[in-house]
Point group: C2
Chain length 433, copies 2
């Protein structure tokens, strides 16, 4: 019989135990920040109705982006982001939730598209959202940014310091109105702004020419990226409002202690969802990672699910992508995650098994991370090799003498030192370390 | 525009924040036992190649049991248990892992079948497995049972005490050989034994008659459930071996301190995988939950993936099913999970926002779980109502006087007591509690 393949499907991440321990360590640190910040963890279904996932009904087109299946008459698919499920959940539980509602999700997302380098078909994102009914102060936008920075800082030994760049949808809306652009032009130019970083100045200028064909307008838009937005004060009420909101916002970010926050009006976050301020985080140590977290404000998060207006500000951290990239770049020292246990109990001979198991039980009862080598017939050489290979800090060796005297031989696997001690002393030593 | 549905698909679990906190609390307690017991957490892809998931190639038949999709020429589907992925993973990483290898998984499983009461299409199971190459002492079977009992005991305030019933495949194999049954008869009778509990004595007897049509053989099989296995000592070497192994095993369970372990030869665990001892756990407090955990030994876990013989003993805890059943039965007092935060910072007036945010920062820096009500224009009544609704333990109220004097008014939300204190005192009070 042919053997089945042992590799996971392309685009799927599979970690070794040491890598997984590091992954879990980072996730726990980051989730702890969200807990301390009063965010409620949600764990929503990975499968949603197709109509919940998308407004499109062209099955073939959707299928190129998502994992879909049909059961009976019901079309469904795997979640591709955290926002769709959250919108449905919040709309369905308006009376069960207290607003402003802080929610976080740490879950796998699925993309049906072809796998490419650095793009996965299954990956974790860490989402955080604050939602209000009918109103929500932009102070919460500042809080979200503060919480993301705290979350990233909780693993700063790996990812370094970070910066956040703030963009403003309302500024562009106001400028487009001021420049008397039509709807088609607004859309075209916004797409150009969103892609500006990737396309270079010449292509950007050419794009503006194609869209506007008006040198004055083109120059005014270009000037935003040269002189900033200050030139546009006192041009229109809408522009003044957008600019003063942005200035005010930067002050609130300062109150929150956010570091390295800069205004960058090229931050647009694509076309979906967002209606207010938008933001993107980069690692200052590893700028080549690109955007490590991003988000913004949406005026009506759940409009497709509820007549109640739910205003939200939310963000997602690209957890899996960052983790794998840092690991591949050698930025993560995995050596500290190589030790899953403190103590390996080695048992020399079946006749001592009873005592060895009682020692293992005592260690585990005392919350000492411990395993035992229970093939008691195996030679000492095999057993100590096992202890060495799993990187146990200590070996507890049990033979005839130890069993008789109700003690153990404790071997420090790093120094090689050995001593005869009681189990209570082992526990004290390990937990005290 | 019609609104989209807000209910999750049938067969999918969706918890409210308080329920989710309890779920996460139980999971963390249980996973901590596995960590202390030296199990490596694995997080494998939820999607596998169809050929990995099943040996069947009748797509229509498989589709009634699984969630499947096709991308290009590749057929794939969602995992339905933890064992298939583990087998593939271990076979693919033989040289990266140290054996005996202790692995655990806590992940969602997917069943494509129609949803029924108490059966879900997406649910968590907690798996634990110990694997050895070419050999693995049955002492590890005892360890697995000990670890499951410890895991269940870590949430005993909800689920109560548990018992474990031990069955033996080798005993039945030996008995069938001794009774000179043919292969077809062996299979038929084993199915009957597996279903005995559900079918009742009369149907069981009738089934034996249909399969064997030999009163002596039928009676000998029935006698196992009446007199136990002791009558079958000294009948054949194979029977003696199976019986002495079982007796020996019960002694080792005792060494491990396993409570309420009984031999029950009607435990068969279906037809798949298992080749050695098998076992099932029940809650003594809630026997109506049925089997809460079960598992056994397999002689060659990864035979479809590797020529290397990997012997395993493994088990799974039906985490979601147990949790939802206990919750629905009112067995879980959720009141202790209603408080997500210790402190709600309430800010009376925009002019005090700066101080309020600095207080929030100090609390979060000190790991005090805290939120702030940042719509500073809202009335005190609204703000204190918010604090009350989210079940904050304390409100920290900040107005003009507090900001001026760099203190806060601390209100105990349970007693209603108020006092003026410094932020340092708030931290001390909350963390000291």
């Amino acid at each position: 019989m042919d053997l089945k393949p042992t590799k996971p499907l392309s685009g799927f991440i599979e970690l070794l135990p040491t890598q997984q321990r590091c992954f879990d360590f980072c996730a726990a640190r980051m989730l702890n920040v969200l807990k301390t910040s009063g965010f409620s963890m949600l764990d929503l279904p990975a499968i949603e109705r197709a109509e919940v996932l998308t407004d499109k009904d062209n099955w073939d087109e959707i299928e190129t982006q998502m994992f879909l299946f049909q059961k009976g008459d019901t079309k469904m698919g795997l979640r591709y982001d955290g926002t769709v499920g959250l919108s449905r959940y919040v709309a369905g539980h308006l009376n069960d939730l207290v607003f402003p509602f802080r929610a976080s999700q740490f879950s796998k997302r699925y993309r049906g598209e072809r796998a490419q380098r650095g793009r996965y078909r299954e990956f974790y994102q860490m989402d955080m959202d604050i939602m209000g009914v009918n109103s929500l102060s932009t102070n919460y936008d500042a809080e979200i940014i503060s919480v993301i920075q705290r979350t990233l800082n909780s693993v700063s030994e790996f990812i370094g310091e970070n910066e956040v760049r703030i963009g403003s949808r309302p500024f562009w809306d106001a400028l487009f109105d001021y420049l008397e652009m039509n709807e088609e032009q607004k859309k075209q130019v916004f797409v150009l702004i969103d892609k500006k970083d990737k396309m270079g100045d010449a292509d950007f200028a050419e794009g503006l020419r194609d869209a506007l064909n008006d040198e004055n307008k083109e120059n005014q838009i270009k000037s935003v990226f040269i002189n900033g937005y200050s030139d546009f004060l006192n041009k229109s009420d809408k522009l003044d409002l957008a600019i003063s909101e942005l200035n005010e916002f930067m002050k609130i970010l300062e109150l929150f202690g956010v570091k390295n926050a800069v205004i960058d009006l090229s931050i647009a976050r694509g076309l979906a969802y967002y209606t207010g301020l938008v933001f993107e985080f980069k690692s200052l140590k590893y700028p080549e990672l690109g955007t490590v977290a991003g988000g913004g404000r949406y005026a009506d998060l759940a409009e497709k699910f509820s007549k109640t207006k739910i205003i939200g500000v939310g963000a997602a951290i690209g957890f899996s992508r960052i983790f794998v990239a840092l690991m591949e770049a050698g930025a993560i020292d995995l050596s500290q995650f190589e030790t899953p246990v403190d103590v390996a109990v080695l048992c020399m001979g079946k006749e001592n098994l009873s005592y060895a198991v009682s020692v293992l039980n005592m260690l585990r009862d005392a919350s000492v991370a411990s395993v035992a080598y229970l093939d008691a017939d195996k030679k000492f050489k095999n057993q100590i090799e096992y202890s060495d290979k799993i990187n146990a800090k200590y070996s507890v060796i049990i033979g005839e003498d130890e069993a008789k005297n109700q003690v153990v031989t404790l071997k420090n696997m790093l120094s090689g030192e050995q001593q005869t001690v009681s189990v209570a002393e082992v526990i004290k030593l390990v937990l005290g370390a």
